[in-house]
C-alpha cells in the first residue's frame, strides 16, 4: 500500500451524517436511507431515459425510398426476350419476359445483390451462371443459389406490375454516388470530369475547388 497521502484527519474526527451508518439506527435514519436510495434510483432512471433516447436517436427511422418506375410497353418485349432497365441508382437491371402472358407473372427482374452478405453478383456467360466474388456464391440463370454459402437462397426479384399494357418496376430511388453516375452527371451538366460524385439522383455540379473550400 502506498499509505496515507498527505495528512488525512482520523476517522474519529469525521462528522458522520450518512443515515444508517451510526451505531444505533433510528426511524429518522431509516427515512433518510429511503430518501437517499430514492434519489440514487432517480438518477439511475434519468440516465436510463437518456440511454433509451440515445438508442432511439441512433436507430434509423427512414425506410429506403422506393418508387414504381415505367419500364416499357409489355408488347415491346418478346417472350423469352429481355431488356436492360437503368435504375436511378445507375444499376442495369435485366427485365426478362419468361412467358407469353401479359400479366406481371410473365416478367422477372433479378436483383444482382447476393442474398448471402450483400455483394454484387456478375453474369459469367461462358458458364451461364451468376458468380458472387465475395464467398464464391453461384446462381443459375434463374437466380437460384446452387453452390457456395448462398446455396438454397435465391437472388431477389424486383417487384413488377402491369397496368394498361405498361410494365412497371419498383426500385429504390436514392442511392450512393458512384463513379458511373458521376461521369453521367458530369456529362449532363458539362462540368469537369474530376468533380465530386453527387448524392441522390439529380445532376448537381460540384467541382474539386468547391470541395477544398468546404
Amino acid at each position: 500500500m502506498a499509505g496515507k497521502i498527505g495528512s488525512e484527519p482520523d476517522r474519529e474526527d469525521r462528522d458522520d451524517k450518512t443515515p444508517g451508518s451510526s451505531a444505533e439506527p433510528s426511524r429518522r435514519d431509516a427515512l433518510g436511507m429511503a430518501l437517499n436510495t430514492g434519489v440514487a434510483l432517480s438518477l439511475g432512471a434519468s440516465y436510463g431515459v437518456l440511454g433509451g433516447y440515445a438508442v432511439t436517436y441512433l436507430y434509423p427511422t427512414q425506410r429506403q425510398q422506393k418508387a414504381w418506375l415505367f419500364v416499357s410497353q409489355v408488347s415491346a418485349i418478346a417472350s423469352g426476350g429481355q431488356l436492360k432497365f437503368q435504375a436511378p441508382s445507375g444499376a442495369a437491371i435485366a427485365v426478362a419476359r419468361i412467358a407469353e402472358g401479359s400479366s406481371a407473372e410473365s416478367f422477372i427482374a433479378l436483383s444482382s445483390t447476393c442474398p448471402h452478405m450483400g455483394c454484387q453478383v456478375y453474369w459469367e456467360s461462358a458458364k451461364q451462371r451468376f458468380f458472387c466474388p465475395c464467398h464464391n456464391g453461384v446462381f443459375n440463370a434463374h437466380g437460384e443459389g446452387i453452390e457456395g454459402p448462398p446455396k438454397g437462397q435465391n437472388l431477389a426479384h424486383y417487384p413488377v406490375k402491369v397496368e394498361n399494357g405498361l410494365l412497371f418496376i419498383e426500385v429504390p430511388t436514392e442511392s450512393l454516388p458512384t463513379e458511373r453516375k458521376r461521369m453521367a452527371s458530369a456529362a449532363s451538366c458539362g462540368c469537369d470530369k474530376r468533380k465530386l460524385p453527387v448524392l441522390q439522383n439529380e445532376p448537381q455540379c460540384q467541382t474539386e475547388d468547391d470541395h477544398e473550400q468546404a
Binding site: Y59, G118, L196, P197
Partner: protein, 348 residues
C-alpha cells in the same frame, strides 16, 4: 533547485519513497527476453496511432462524397500527409501482430492462470477492440474494398439470430450502406474504440502491477539476483524497442507507403476481394459454412477463448497438471495459420 523541489513537493504531496515504489517495480529476470516483454510493443504503437490518428482527423471528412477525396488529399497534397497516413497504417498492422504475439506468449506460458484470469479477459477485450479499430479504419478510406468489407460486416451482424437486424441498422444507420454510414464508422474508429482501449489498457496494466507478472526462471539464467529495476533498466530497453519500431515504421512508410485503391462503387463488387490479412481466417470461414452457422460458430469460438482461463481451471482441477491447453492452443494456431494461408494463396 531545492526551491523548485520544495515547490513541487508541497503541491504534489507524495513522498519520494512512495513515488519510487509506485514507478519502480522489480522486474523478474525473464523479462530480459523480448518474447516476454511483448506487451509493451502494442502499448507503444497505440500511442503512435493516437498521435497520427488525431493528425489524420484534421483533414479526413467522413461521408461518401468526401471521404475518398479527403484521404487522397492527405496522401497526395498535404505536406507529409503520406508519411502520417503510412505510419498510421503500418502501426495498425504491427499493432494487430503485436497483440497476437503477446497473447500467444501469455497463452503458451500459462500466464493467464489463477489469479490472472480477469486480466486475460481484459486482454481479449483489447484484442477485439484492436480488430474492430483496424476494420473500421480500413472502411474509412471508402475504396472498393473498404465499401464491400463494410457491407459484408454489416451482413455478418445481420446473420445473428433475433438481434441481427437491429445490429445491422444501428451499424449502417439504415437498411443498407448510405450517406450516414461513414460517420458512424468514424465515430467508432476515432472516438469509441480509442476510449474503450484506454480504459482497458489502464485496467490491464493496473492488474499486471497488482499481481506482478508470472515468474519464470530459465536454466541458463545464472545471475544471483532474481529481479532487475524497471527504472531505468527496463525503461531503457523499451526506449530501444521504441526507436527500432520508429525506424522500421518509417522505412516501411517510405518503401511501401499507404496507397489508394479504386473508389467505392456500390454497383460492382471487384472480382477479387480480400480483407486485411488478419481477417483472412474469418473470410475463409464464411466461405465454408452457411451464414448463420459461420457467424455463430465464430462468435462461440471467441467466447470460449474469452473464458479459457476458467475452462482451463476446471480441466486442471479434474486432472491436475494437465497440459490440455497446449493441445488446444496448438490446434487453434495451426487451424488459423492453415485457413489464413489458404485464403492468401487462392483468388477465390
Amino acid at each position: 533547485m531545492s526551491r523548485l523541489r520544495d515547490f513541487f513537493s508541497e503541491r504534489v504531496p507524495v513522498s519520494p519513497e512512495t513515488m519510487r515504489e509506485l514507478t519502480n517495480e522489480p522486474v523478474p529476470n525473464h523479462l530480459k527476453r523480448w518474447w516476454f516483454a511483448l506487451g509493451g510493443t502494442p502499448a507503444y504503437l497505440f500511442i503512435i496511432m493516437i498521435v497520427t490518428g488525431i493528425l489524420l482527423a484534421c483533414y479526413y471528412q467522413p461521408g461518401p462524397t468526401t471521404a475518398y477525396q479527403s484521404v487522397r488529399y492527405i496522401t497526395e497534397e498535404v505536406a507529409f500527409g503520406w508519411y502520417i497516413r503510412s505510419l498510421h497504417k503500418w502501426s495498425a498492422t504491427f499493432m494487430v501482430a503485436g497483440v497476437i504475439l503477446h497473447q500467444l506468449r501469455v497463452f503458451f506460458t500459462g500466464a493467464y492462470r489463477r489469479p490472472r484470469e480477469l486480466n486475460w479477459m481484459i486482454g481479449m477485450g483489447l484484442l477485439v477492440s484492436t480488430l474492430v479499430g483496424g476494420f473500421t479504419g480500413y472502411s474509412l478510406v471508402y475504396e472498393q474494398l473498404s465499401f464491400w468489407g463494410a457491407t459484408v460486416a454489416s451482413n455478418i451482424a445481420d446473420s445473428v439470430p433475433v438481434l441481427g437486424g437491429f445490429l445491422k441498422r444501428m451499424l449502417l444507420a439504415g437498411e443498407s450502406y448510405n450517406q450516414h454510414t461513414l460517420s458512424r464508422f468514424f465515430v467508432i474508429h476515432a472516438a469509441l474504440m480509442p476510449t474503450l482501449m484506454v480504459l482497458l489498457l489502464v485496467l490491464h496494466i493496473a492488474m499486471v502491477r497488482m499481481h506482478g507478472v508470472t515468474e519464470f526462471r530459465f536454466p541458463d539464467d545464472t545471475s544471483e539476483k532474481r529481479y532487475f529495476n524497471f527504472v531505468p533498466d527496463h525503461l531503457f530497453s523499451e526506449i530501444i524497442v521504441g526507436l527500432l519500431l520508429m525506424i522500421v515504421l518509417s522505412t516501411l512508410a517510405v518503401a511501401l507507403p499507404a496507397e489508394m485503391g479504386p473508389m467505392a462503387d456500390p454497383l460492382t463488387t471487384p472480382e477479387v476481394i480480400k480483407p486485411e490479412w488478419y481477417f483472412y481466417v474469418s473470410f475463409r470461414w464464411l466461405k465454408l459454412f452457411p451464414a448463420t452457422v459461420a457467424v455463430l460458430s465464430m462468435g462461440f469460438i471467441v467466447f470460449l477463448f474469452f473464458l479459457w482461463p476458467l475452462i482451463d481451471g476446471l480441466i486442471r482441477r479434474r486432472w491436475p497438471g494437465s497440459e490440455a491447453s497446449m493441445y488446444v492452443g496448438a490446434v487453434t494456431v495451426l487451424t488459423i495459420i492453415a485457413l489464413t494461408v489458404w485464403e492468401a494463396v487462392v483468388a477465390h
